[in-house]
Amino acid sequence: MKKEYGQGTGQPDISVNLGGLSMKNPVAVASGTFGYGFEYEDFIDISGIGGVIVKGTTLEPRPGNPPPRIAETPAGMLNAIGLENPGVDVFLNEYLPVLREKGVTVILNIAGNTVEEYARLAAKLKGHPGIAGVELNISCPNVKEGGLQFGTDPVMVKTVVEAIKAECSLPIIPKLSPNVTDIVAIAQAAQEGGADALAMINTLMGMAVDIRTKRPVLGNVFGGLSGPAIKPVALRMIYQVYREIDLPILGGGGIMNFTDALEFILVGASAVSIGTGNFVNPCLADEIVDGLIEYMQENQIAKLTDLVGAAAV
């Protein structure tokens, strides 16, 4: 479908409304891969990024997992960081004011081990301006349900999303775990709980072995696989959810360049996130935005929304 350029500026409209979260462009940087943004300031203007999804934040500080925490794998990497973070109070009082001052679109990623923990964390965000939205990491074990991951059970997903919605008026974006049999059922449960948008996918659980020591490489034994190796899985899951569930999707998993990003948009992502790609190219977010604008101009596409889901048959 061909359209005129928007607003007569010659610039296509690439802004995104992700379930009430407004982004100046569709490219966010993924949680845990960009710190709090400051770490990358030598390389990229962090206020220009569509959304900076900060490191997974918990109610109390966490020390993280014993090393080794990362292992490179074919076209990917495993990580078992263990949610090392200084806790939500440090984030709100020390980091957020600086990010707000810089005009960064901040998306807070939260994690917990009980429904109450998530709810208390969400309640703490009141009275702290500068958070554009909350991404909900549900790939965490629920200690009250025998350590079963929240994100693998529709009932738990609905419960935790509801509990957070009750405490927090910001756009809530549950981040789905790909380590499930029926991703659509999980997405459905998130929607029923009141989710404003969906982020997908988180890492795929994997492991690596050292044949010299005959031991697992990672200190935590298992870790999350990310990078180009998981892209086909991410595309498939986003495609499935886009067709069944009426919520905007923040899509990611192995995006390394603009054409990867376009593939995610075509299968149904309204915006994209870059994770592991930042390690390889810290300017990737900007490059993808430039690539999208150029593509839209060349193909006379006025609004990014015209491309979302175009490949869904």
């Binding site: 090393p67 180009p228 300017c283």
Partner: protein, 263 residues
């Protein structure tokens, strides 16, 4: 300040069996270099191998804007690096991390390097000489052929003592044996990089003689800038916090570290 840049390869020379020196032009980065900092090199434009490889600054010439790295071929990434040719453009990021502490006045320093761990000590020696320090380098390797940095040290005008495990050059034995011939009253500071067992002995010498010393550590890295928290290590097992080698280091005070013998 660090940068992402395209470096133009000037040379990529094999110095020994598995040791290479890569020199490239990156003037903007060269201006910000400091001994002990490191570069993250993208070895392939493909997605595999994916991550950048961290390599210490071996030498830097600010006037010409060139940066040298000394690398050992140990796996897929460093093997690909051996195919870099003059005039190739390579994707480099740096300088990263915290380098060695520079003295405020000319002092007597001993640098202890083992194997490819000698790399960051070359650029350090250059700075210390510029600061009018007395610099002695204790340089160990398996064989004479692996002592690839010796000539360059000699040209710098440092005092050099070498040791080889096979006795093919200098002292026959581990380089740390050379410590017992040093007069602790004649030294102010130690700097070391190499196998952790070697650095542990330097640290012990430093502690026993009430001296001061710094070492450079390694850990697998993804981002290199403190964002991913992947390169965590407890400097001592009883420490509560993990340091990030890329951001808090790679240089640390030797007394803060309990070394890992297998490394």
């Amino acid at each position: 300040m660090s940068f992402l840049a395209k470096g133009r390869v000037l040379k990529n020379q094999q110095l020994a069996d598995d040791l290479y020196e890569l020199e490239f032009l990156a003037p903007q980065i060269a201006l910000k270099c400091h001994p002990g900092k490191f570069m993250q090199i993208r070895v392939s434009e493909q997605d595999d191998p994916l991550l950048r490889r961290p390599l210490s600054l071996y030498d830097v010439d600010v006037d010409s804007g060139s940066i040298s790295l000394l690398y050992k071929v140990v796996g897929q990434g460093t093997r690909i690096m051996t195919s870099f040719k003059p005039d190739d453009t390579i994707d480099v990021m740096g300088p990263l991390g915290n380098g060695f502490t520079m003295p405020n006045y000319p002092l007597n320093a001993i640098l202890v390097g083992g194997g490819v761990g000698i790399a960051p000590l070359m650029y350090l020696a250059r700075w210390l000489i510029l600061l009018d320090c007395q610099v002695k380098v204790l340089y160990g390797a398996n064989t004479a052929g692996e002592l690839v940095a010796s000539d360059r040290f000699s040209r710098l005008g440092v005092e050099l003592e070498v040791a080889t495990l096979d006795g093919s050059a200098g002292y026959h034995g581990p380089v740390t044996d050379l410590l017992k011939d040093q007069d602790p009253h004649e030294v102010d500071s130690f700097y070391t990089c190499g196998p952790e067992m070697m650095m542990a002995e330097v640290a012990e010498y430093v502690a026993c003689n009430y001296l001061w010393g710094e070492c450079s550590l390694e850990e697998h890295m993804a981002c290199g800038v403190g964002a991913c928290l992947g390169c965590a290590r407890k400097l001592k097992p009883a420490d509560v916090d993990y340091v990030k080698i890329c951001k808090d280091g790679p240089v640390f005070n030797v007394q803060a570290v309990e070394f890992m013998m297998g490394r």
